[in-house]
Symmetry: C2
Subunit: 117 residues, 2 copies
């Protein structure tokens, strides 16, 4: 059972959530960072720098830097893979899970406000 949504509803939803993010000062995350964060929290582990770069279609430094900044915010953590020490495994954090959950609630909340548009 697909999720039915009209173009005008989609646009109003997109605008309102972005307005919320800007106003609450949570617009620190770029589109890339958002995609990375949600991939980490929605897709099955393990997540590596290379894997994320491939999924997003960007270069590895982009992932490394995004992990740096999101790590500073406490949203993710890195750990060396002991079975193959070349790899780095990206791990979730409590703060990151909360941030993702907050975003979901925001979208759900704003969607509910919109009647037939």
């Amino acid at each position: 059972m697909p999720l039915e949504i009209r173009p005008s509803q989609a646009l109003r939803l997109w605008r309102q959530v972005h307005l919320d993010l800007v106003r609450d000062g949570e617009s620190d995350l770029s589109a890339r960072q958002t995609a990375i964060l949600l991939t980490i929290y929605l897709e099955l582990p393990p997540h590596t720098v290379r894997g994320l770069a491939a999924q997003l279609g960007v270069t590895k430094p982009v992932i490394t830097r995004a992990l740096d900044s999101m790590g500073k915010l406490g949203l993710v953590t890195r750990r060396r893979d002991e079975t193959d020490r070349r790899n780095v495994v990206i791990q979730r954090t409590v703060a990151g899970a909360l941030a993702v959950e907050r975003l979901a609630d925001r979208v759900v909340e704003r969607a509910r406000e919109f009647g037939a548009g």
Copy 2:
């Protein structure tokens, strides 16, 4: 009749659309710019720098610069208000309307793909 959407659906939708934007290189727009663009195309004109700044809760230079860059991309245009030449009226463009429409279709398309999640 509100738009019913579950948190997990919201997150998958948010992730997938952001992934699309990143992969197609349309992630040039920051969260602020997205909010500005959609405000211009969804809310009733006229739009001024000051009005947009107030709606977003940001300073005027943010709007000026966003209009500069979005103007370079052809998404919006500025015109002096002849009745009060201090004001600048932000106007829509064909390219901007197409970009907004494309975003809407993207969201609708991705939403449709998601079953009960």
